[in-house]
Symmetry: C2
Subunit: 414 residues, 2 copies
């Protein structure tokens, strides 16, 4: 019998237990019909009416000290006590699977190394993209590729808000209130709308893709609070939509990673442009495969639970530490200054009459955009490709002629 412990009985934890017992037979078939059961569910709260009340415990040491427990699902969230519990389990020879993106983004390299030393596994498919298989494809199916770039719509809450703004011309505040009402956004929505959640996820994907731990604090992160319906209208005129994109790529000169989270213009031709509502979409650009896109529900009880259980199955099947699921932490920051990254930019200005002419002189061939109800003294345009620092210089120069910048967004070319 393979004994499992589940730490945390919140949304994801109760989903893990539910999906496990619902599909137990077919799950066991996938591991060669070995019997498998959940022995403990750790939570400080009481669940007297739960059918699993007999499995509920409040003391972590029961799990740590029970040699029967081979696999632990950490679905509590947060850094502590999740980190200490996970570390202890790995050191006691138990594999740990987690949905905890904060934990992986902050301490992933360290926990992977502890797992390796103890010949067990630390898996985290559920930490990015909910039920979308992305971690395993990245290190396993795309093993033959050098991954050049990875970009995605990684946060369902902000994507829901932007979709409402784009499709129903709902203002940001109203869309946020609706997301809160529907339970997609927290009362304090900062982790979502300010981009921190997406940032943790792109850091996990970048660490795995490029081999070095990428820390969230070094990744320039902007949320969607400043995106307006006017910007949405200009984006539509340009031929696309505004999405919150987490992205990371190898610098072409080598020796570093460009990484950023920000709202950006995405062309209607891109597969990412049609990822709507609470769905996520992740694009992986490999040297051999070209672009591969993964799409699905990025959050939610059952999708996330299914990813946790897929990791449990994989942990049962593994006889030693996965060698492909790995990255190192050499203590250095591998993220380059985002102002050196090149791209096109969308700028919206409150302008003087000569503003457009001045913008042409400064930026070269710009593409002017239009919207319904555009005031006479407003103009918006997309620049040619240049570095962000060069754009900022030229934009400041433009403001000297009497214009005022209202908005700036990156224009991506996936």
């Amino acid at each position: 019998m393979i004994h499992i412990a589940v730490m945390g009985y919140g949304t994801v934890g109760s989903g893990v237990v539910e999906v496990f017992y619902k599909n137990r037979e077919s799950i066991q078939r996938k591991i060669g019909n070995k019997p498998m059961d959940i022995k403990y569910i750790l939570d400080l709260r009481d669940f007297p009416d739960s059918p699993y009340a007999g499995k509920m415990i409040k003391d972590f040491n029961i799990i740590a000290d029970d040699p029967d427990i081979e696999i632990v699902a950490e679905v509590m969230g947060g850094l502590e006590p999740a980190f200490t519990f996970t570390k202890t389990c790995l050191e006691r020879g138990k594999s740990v699977v987690t949905s905890n993106k904060e934990l992986v983004a902050a301490r992933g390299a360290e926990l992977l190394e502890i797992a390796r030393r103890n010949n067990v596994n630390f898996f985290f498919e559920a930490s990015v993209g909910g039920g979308i298989p992305i971690i395993r494809p990245l290190h396993s199916s795309l093993a033959a590729n050098e991954i050049d770039e990875i970009a995605g719509i990684l946060n369902g809450t902000t994507n829901f808000i932007l979709t409402k703004m784009i499709k129903e011309q709902m203002a940001f505040d109203d869309a946020l209130a609706l997301a809160q009402k529907l339970g997609y956004a927290e009362r304090n929505p900062s982790a979502d709308v300010d981009g921190h959640d997406a940032c943790r996820k792109i850091c996990i994907l970048a660490s795995l893709s490029f081999g070095n731990h990428i820390y969230p604090e070094f990744v320039h992160t902007e949320g969607i609070r400043n995106v307006t319906l006017e910007d949405v209208a200009y984006a539509e005129n340009w031929g696309g939509v505004i999405k919150l994109i987490g992205r990371a790529k190898r610098s072409e000169e080598g020796g570093g990673i460009f990484a950023m989270v920000s709202p950006a213009l995405i062309s209607h031709d891109s597969q990412l442009s049609s990822v709507d509502d609470v769905f996520n979409g992740i694009l992986v650009r490999g040297d051999a495969t070209g672009d591969v896109v993964f799409y699905g529900k990025g959050a939610g009880k059952l999708p996330t639970a299914s990813a946790v259980i897929a990791d449990i199955v994989d942990a049962v099947k593994s006889t030693s530490t996965s060698k492909s699921l790995h990255w190192q932490d050499d203590g250095k920051n591998h993220v380059l200054d985002y102002r050196q990254q090149k791209g096109a930019f969308y700028l919206r200005m409150e302008g003087v009459e000569e503003g457009v002419q001045r913008a042409r002189e400064l930026f070269g061939e710009i593409r002017l955009l239009h919207r319904q109800g555009q005031p006479e003294n407003e103009f918006a345009f997309v620049t040619p490709v240049l570095s962000e620092s060069a754009m900022e210089e030229k934009s400041a120069e433009l403001e000297k002629s009497g214009c005022r910048r209202i908005a700036m967004l990156r224009v991506l070319d996936y």
Copy 2:
């Protein structure tokens, strides 16, 4: 040293060798820095100028008899000698990875069983979807799901042709000629345009998803030769596009599989509708994850080669036969009569004046469609949901009133 043999030095085979040597270092890192090399390349042709001329052999027995060879990549295509060679390798304790969809669709269950008996692996990620990870996610990442349905744009050639018809109003014959000129279609394009290639692929996906071998000969298969620009225009008016879709689902009553390959109307809201040109897209509907979609290049030298190499890496990492990559062949046909499957249908009729009224009497609430240049005596509509056999009966009844059916297509709701 891990020794590999590559059987077949055509497009995929030469791609495997190219990608292997290009990314050898990072591939070896994924297997814990074990050294790995290609020892033999089997092909009946001479390649005197190849940098790998020293590895070229023409006698399969050299591979079969060499105990150094642990892993064989079968990338010859066709049923024989691929089947005999693969079987022999597995029986001699060598894992085999293949891109050969014909082989897997015809003899997959048998070869998986031979692999199991010899404690080696038979992997075939490259047989469906080229460089898109789909086989491994299906049996590994989605392990916690009961898969209810799977549907995809599985053939790049026909998708290129349909895209030209939809986006450039190119007639089928011209689009086919262009595909041939660009090297996307063979001189004899039947395997692609008549749906046989898509059929093999949906059979592989269905076998893996539902656990029983699904044979191509039992799957109702229609190609795209009869799709016209008039149908494309009506589909646009309906709010979607025509795509060649391979699909398989569990019957809701249980006890069988509905499977079909046919052109079908797909709503613009569907992720599959924006899969254009030679790209593939595969939708997997699981009970826990909901819909997950995989998108990428479905064919081509480097994408397919990268999938073959991912399988090689996985074979090196495996210490025994994968228990999740498995289905059985009980000798029975599990495919249900497609005429019992329910759905909506698009019908285009050359009609008498009372045709529309008669259609309403027969089908109930129909949705009339329109197109530019629609002749007065033509009408097209989408039916409510009914079984295909009921639709055929009513359609025949409608023709008795003096109408003539010009076209019929299924309307899907992904």
